[in-house]
Symmetry: D3
Subunit: 298 residues, 6 copies
C-alpha cells in the first residue's frame, strides 16, 4: 500500500496504530489547561498537533536518516482528565501514564509534566535529568495562589525528588521573573541558559553545555512551546519575545544523540492563537525530532 | 469637555467612573472559565467587551431615547477569582457581588451566574424570575463529572431556590441534549422557547410569552452569548448553529420595559474565536440595551 | 464509561467505530478539490467537519429526540483519491462507495457527488430524487472547459440518468448564471427555489414544495454548504451573498421526515476560509440532522 | 475567447475596460479614510471589492436576467486623493468625478459622498433624491470636531442643497444617536426606516415606502456597508449589531427597478476587519445589483 | 495584596496609577494615524500595547534585575488629537507633552515624534541625540505631497534643530528609498546601520557603534515597530522583510545602559494586522525594556 | 505626475505596463495549484503578490541603488491554464512562456517550473544552471502517484535535460525525505545546502558556494517560498520549520550579482494561510530583488 496523500492522512500521530498501551513507544494528548495564567486554550493542543503532523509521515530525517515510524509506536489518543479540577486531573494523568514503556505526551498546560514525571520516576526508581526548553523558569512555589498552576511545575518536581536538579538544564529563559526564583533555582543546582545566551553563543556550545549537564543517566525532555519566539510559535498562552528560532531548538534536539531519554512532553500549544498551523507544526516536528533521536539509537 | 473620539475612549464600560461599590449601578468582569466544556477563553471576555463598548458612549438609544450614561454607574473592573479552583472562585465572586445595589456582570463562563444569584437573592430574601437567553438548557445535575461546570448552573440555581422556575423562561434553546434534562426542567415549571420557536413566530409573540412568565416580581437576566447564532457571535466556546439573530435578541430585550430587573449577566464571550470584535460588540450592546431599560424607567 | 469531554472527543464522526464497511450507515470524507473554480481548499473539509462534530456526541435531537449515535454507524475515514486527476479520482470514489449500505459523505468539491450517485444508483437500479441545497445550479455542461468541474455535476447526473429531474428540487439558488442554464434545467423538469423564494415565503411552504417534488421514491441529499449565506458559512470556495440562514436549512431538513433517503453528501467546506469553525460546525450539524432523520425512522 | 477562470480574472471591476472617462458608466475607487471615527482602513476597500468581484463576471442576474457587463462600462481605477488632508481630497474627488456620465464609486469613508454629490448635482442642475442604506444617520453638523468627517456627510449634503430631503430615505438606522439629530433630520423631511422597522415589516412594504419617497426625479444611491449586520459585513469601521441581512438589502435594491438613478457609491468597507472576503463580496455584489438595475432599463 | 492574575490585570501600562501629570515618568498613547502611507490603523496601537503589557507586571528584568514598576510612573491614557487634521493634532500633542518630566509615548504613526521632540527640546533648551530603530529613513522632505506624513518626521526634526544629527543613529534601515534621501541624511551627519549591517555583524559591535554616536548628552529613543521583521511584528502599516529579530532589538536596548535618555516613543503598531498580539507584545516589551533601563539607573 | 500613494497603486507588478509580450522583461502569474500535496490555494498567489508589491514602487534598492522600474518591464497578467488538468496546463504555460525575452513568473505550484524551463531552454538551446531555494528536494520521480505533482518537478527537469545538475544548487532543504531521493539527486551532481548548513555557516560562505556551482553559463532562479521559515512565510502549502530567515534569502540573492540569469519563478504562495500579507510581501520583495539584480547589470 502506498502512503496516503498528506491531506488524507489518518488521525493519529505519524499514523501510529491506535490505543495499544503495550507498545514500545506511546504518544498521548493531555488536554488539561485550567491552571494557565494568561491566555487559555492549551486543551486543544493535542488535536492540532496530530493534525499538523500529517506532513511528517512520508520520509526520513533529512540529516540523521532516522525513521520514527519504524518505532513500535502507538497513539493512545487523549488522556482523560477531570473537568475543572487540577489535582484530580493530575492523579488521573499519572495513573494513565503508569505502566507505559516510553511516553511522548502533548499538552495541555505545563502542569501536566508533574504527573508524567511522577509516573516515570516511580517506575525508574530514581530521579531523571531534565532538558527543559521554555521562556519561563516554572519554579515558583505558588503561582498566583494556585500551587499546581503551570508556573510551579518544577518547584514540585525538584522538591518531590522527581528531577535531579544538578542534571537539569533550562534553555530559552527570558520572561520577567522574581530574583528569588532565579536564586532558588540556581541554588538547587539547575543550569540556566537564557535566550540571550543562546542567541549570542555558537549553537554547538549550547549543545555541549546541555549534554554536560544531562550526563549519562536517564533523562526527560520537557519542551514548552513558548521556548520558541512568538514569531515561530504564536499559538501559546504566555508568549515572550526574544525567544529561540525553531532551527535553534531543532539543533539542540539533534545535538542530544546518545542522551538516555526515557520520556518527553511538548506542552502549551494553544491553537486558538496559532496562525496557519505554524505552532502546531513546530510542536509536531519537535515531537518527531525526539522520536528520530530514539529511532536513531538502533 | 467634548466626548472623546471612540478610538480614544477611556477603559471602562461606557466611560463609567472606576471602582465605586456604592454606585446605584455597577458593572464588573468575572474572568472565570475553567468549567467550560469545549473551547476555552471566556476569561478574556470582560476586557474585550469593555473595549468594544467604546462606540456606545456617544448618543442615546435610537428607539427609546434612553441614556445609560445618565445612570449612577461605576465600573468595578474585574472581580478576583481563584486560579484553577471553581468552588473557591464562586465563593469569592459571591462575596464581591454582595452589597452592590445592582450589578451587570460580564463573564467569564456561565457558571458564575450561580455565585451572582446567590449574592442577589440573599439580599432580596426571595427567589427571582429569570430571563435566560441561551443555546443550552444548562440544567444538567452533573456536567462531565463537574458539578459546578457551566452546563449545570441552573440545576443549582433552581435546586438552591435562587430562581423561581415558574417565573423562568429560556429562549434560544437548540443544542443536542438528553430528554431527561428537558423533562426535569419542564417539570420544575420552566418555560422553554427553542430557537426554532423564535424563528417561526412573530417576535411580539415571543416577547409576550416571556413577559407573561416573568411577571411582576424581581427578575434577573442571564444572557449566554451563544444564544445568538455563531454567524452573529462566533467568539464563544460552545456554539450551536440555528441561533438567534442579534436583532431578535435586541427586540426581546427592548420588549422587557417595565420588568423589574435587579441584576444581569452576559457570559461566554471567548474573544480568541471572535472576528472583527463582532461578538464582543454584541455582548457590549446587549449590556447597553439592558442599562437602557433601567435608564428608561425614570 | 462516561461520555468524554468534548475537547477530548475521539477522532471519528460522532465517535462512530472506525473502518467497518459492513455497517448499516457509513460516513466518509472525500478530499477531492481540484475542479473548484474560485477559492481552493475543500480537500481539508472532512477533517474540519469531524473535528467540529465533537460537540454533537452528547445528547439527542432537541426537537425530534432522535439519537444518531444509536445507528449502526461507522466512520470509514477519508476515501483515497488520485492526486491531480479528476476522472481517475471519480472512478476511485465510485469504487469505494460501491457496496456500502448507506453513505453520508463529506466533501471535498461538489464534483464528487457524481461518483457517489453513480455508485448508489447502480445498486438501486433506478434514478433517485434529489434534494439539492446550493447557491448554484451546477448544471453547466462544461465548466470553464473542464467537463467534470464542480459546476457541471448535475448536468452529468441528469444526463446519465442518475437523478430523476422531475423529483429534483434545488433550494437556495442565487448566483449569477446564464439564462440557458436555467432554461435547460427547468426543461428537464427540475424545480428551482431561489434563496429569494425561501426568504420571502413561510418555511412550511418551502418544505411542502420540496416534499411534493421528492415524493415517495428513493432520494438523495446533496448539500453544498454555500447554500448557506457567507455569514453562516464563510469557509467555502464560491460564496454568494443573500443565502440561507442555518436555521432555514435546518428547518428544511427537519421537514423531510419520512422521505426515503438512501444517501447524502455535504460538500464544499473550505476550512482555510472558515472562522471559529462555524462553517465546519454547520456542515457537521447538517450531517447530524440528516442522521437524526434516519435514526428517527425507527 | 472564453471567460477566464474566476481566480485568473482581470484586475478591473467586472472586467471593465480601463480608464475611459468617456464611457457611459464608470466605476472608480475613492481611497480616502482619514475622517473615520472608530476603526480605520476603508482606504483598502476599493482594491478588496474589485478582487471579490471576480466571481461576478460569469453569468447574468438570477432573477432579472440583466447583464451589467453589457453596459458601456469602464473602470477608472482609484481616484487620487491628498494624503492626510480631507478638504483638499474632497476637492480632488469632486474634480475627478466631474464630467463623467454615470459613476459608481467604491469608498473609502462615507465623507466622499459629499464630493460625489457636489459633482453630480452641479451637472444635473438640481438636487437628487437619495436612497441611503446605513446604520447611522450621518447628519451630524460636526463629528468629533471635524466638520467633514464621515458622520457629517448628509448634514452638508442637505444644507448645500445637493439632496432633496423630502425625497431622501434612510434605511437600516440603528446606532446610538442624539435625539437632536433625529429631530433635525426628520424636520428636513427625511424618511427614516430603522433596522427594527425592516426586520418587523414585510420587505415589500419597505420597498414600497422607499419608492414612494424617491419618486420619479433623478436619484442617487449611497450604501454604507455598515447598513448590513456585522455578521454579514464585519469588515467595516463602525459596526452596529441588529442590522440588515444581505438578502434584505438585495431585495430593496431589486425593488428599485425604474427609479431614475444617476450615480451611486458603496462605502466603508475596511478589509483589515473582513473575514473570508465576505464584506468585500457583499459590497461588490451590491454594486453589481446596482449595475443590473441600470442594465435592466434597456 | 497579591499580584492579580495577568488576565485580570488593570487597564493601565504596567498597572501604573492613572492620570498624574506630575509623576516622574509618564506613559501616554497618541492615537494619530492619518498621515500613514500604506496600511491604516495605528490609532489602535496604544490600547493593544497596554493590553499586551498585562504579562509584564509580575517580576523583574531577567538579566538586569531592574523593576520598572518601582519607578514613579503614571499612565496618562490617550492624548487628545484633532480628528482628520494632522497639524492641529501635532500642536495638541505637543501641548499635552509639555511639562511632563519624562514621557514614554505609544503611537500612533511616526509623525507624532515631531510633536514629542518639539515639547522635549523646548524644555531641555538643546537638541537631543537620537536612537532611531526603523525600516525607513523617514527623512523625506515631502511624503506623497504631505509635509507632515510619517515618512518626513526626521527631515523636520533635523531641520528644526530638535535632533543633533551627529548624535543620531538609525538602525534597521532597509526599505526601497531614493538615493537623494540617503545622501541628504548622511550629509547631515547621521549614522545609518542597515538591517543587513545588523544581521552580518556581532551585536556587540552594533551596540558599540550606537553608543559611540549617542555620546553622553541627552538622548531620545524613537522605535518604529517596523524596524522588526514582519515575522516578529506583522501588525504595522509599512512592513519590510529582512528586518531585525526581536532579540536583536532587545539586545541593542539592553546595551544602552548609561545613555542619558530623556524620552521615548514606540510607534506604528497597527493591531488590525497583528496576530496573537505578538506585535503589541513586542512594543509593550520594548517599552518595558526602556523603563528597565531607566529603573536600572538607580 | 507624482508617484501615487501606495494604497492607490496600479494593479500591475511595480506599476509595469500591461500585456506587452515584446518587452525586455516580463512578469506573469501562473495560477495552477492542483498538483499540490498538502494545503491548497497557490492559485491565488499571483494576485496577492502583485497587491503586496504596491509598496515597492517608490525608491531604489537600499544597498545596490538599482531601480527595477527602469527595466523595459511589462506585466502580462495571469497565464491561462486548463482547469483541473495538469498536463494540459503545463502545455499551455509553456506555450505562453515561449517567445518572451525574459520572464519572472509568480506561481502557483512548483510544478509550473517544468513548463517554464521547457520554454526557456528550447529558446536557449542548452540547459541552464539552477539556483533552487526550497525546503524540499522536489526530485521525486513520482509524487503520491502523480508524475507531474509539485514534488517531482526537478526529476523531470534534470531527466529532460533542462537543467545542468552540476550547475544546480539547492538551498534551504530540510523536509523529511527518502534517502533514495538524496542519493539520486547527489548522484546527478546537484549540490545540496540544507537549512541547517545555512544557519550554521557565515552567509558569505553560502553565497560563495552557490556562485561556484552556478558558474558563468545561463542560469535560472526557482524560489519556492517555503524555503523561508513558516514564521517568515506562513502562507504556503507545505511548510517546514527550521527554514531560512528572509534576510538570509535576500543576502543570497544580493550575492548573485553577475550571475547570468535568464529567467526566474517564485512559487507556492498560498494567501489563504498568509497573515498580514507577510508571505506575499516576501515573495514580491524576492521578485524585486531579482529584478534589481538584472537592473544593476547595466
Amino acid at each position: 500500500m502506498t502512503t496516503p496523500i498528506t491531506f488524507a492522512a489518518p488521525h493519529s500521530f505519524l499514523g501510529a496504530r491506535a490505543h495499544d498501551r503495550s507498545a514500545g513507544f506511546c504518544v498521548a494528548g493531555v488536554p488539561l489547561d485550567i491552571g494557565t495564567t494568561n491566555r487559555a486554550g492549551a486543551r486543544d493542543g493535542p488535536r492540532a498537533i496530530r493534525n499538523a503532523a500529517r506532513m511528517l509521515t512520508d520520509g526520513r530525517h533529512p540529516v540523521s536518516g532516522a525513521d520514527p515510524t519504524a518505532l513500535d509506536l502507538s497513539d493512545l489518543g487523549e488522556f482523560d482528565i477531570a473537568l475543572g479540577d487540577i489535582q484530580k486531573s493530575l492523579a488521573m494523568i499519572e495513573e494513565q501514564a503508569t505502566g507505559l514503556a516510553h511516553l511522548l505526551a502533548f499538552g495541555g498546560e505545563h502542569g501536566v509534566t508533574l504527573a508524567l514525571l511522577r509516573a516515570l520516576t516511580k517506575r525508574l526508581g530514581e530521579p531523571v535529568g531534565l532538558l527543559h526548553i521554555d521562556a519561563h523558569l516554572d519554579t515558583s512555589e505558588d503561582n498566583f495562589g494556585q500551587r499546581f498552576a503551570h508556573g510551579a511545575v518544577f518547584w514540585h518536581a525538584i522538591t518531590e525528588g522527581l528531577v535531579d536538579p544538578r542534571r537539569m538544564v533550562q534553555i530559552g529563559i527570558r520572561s520577567p521573573a522574581w530574583p528569588e526564583m532565579f536564586e532558588w533555582t540556581r541554588a538547587q543546582g539547575v543550569t540556566i541558559l537564557s535566550a540571550q545566551d543562546v542567541h549570542q553563543s555558537p549553537i554547538a556550545s549550547v549543545i555541549a553545555q546541555a549534554r554536560g549537564v544531562l550526563g549519562t543517566g536517564p533523562c526527560y525532555l520537557s519542551f514548552d512551546i513558548d521556548g520558541l519566539d512568538p514569531a515561530f510559535a504564536p499559538g501559546t498562552g504566555t508568549p515572550e519575545i526574544g525567544g529561540l528560532a525553531s532551527w535553534q531548538a531543532q539543533a539542540i534536539l539533534r545535538g542530544m544523540a546518545g542522551i538516555d531519554f526515557r520520556g518527553a512532553d511538548i506542552v502549551e500549544v494553544a491553537p486558538a492563537y496559532d496562525v496557519a498551523e505554524i505552532t502546531a507544526l513546530a510542536a509536531a516536528t519537535m515531537g518527531w525530532e525526539y522520536l528520530c533521536l530514539l529511532a536513531g539509537k538502533k
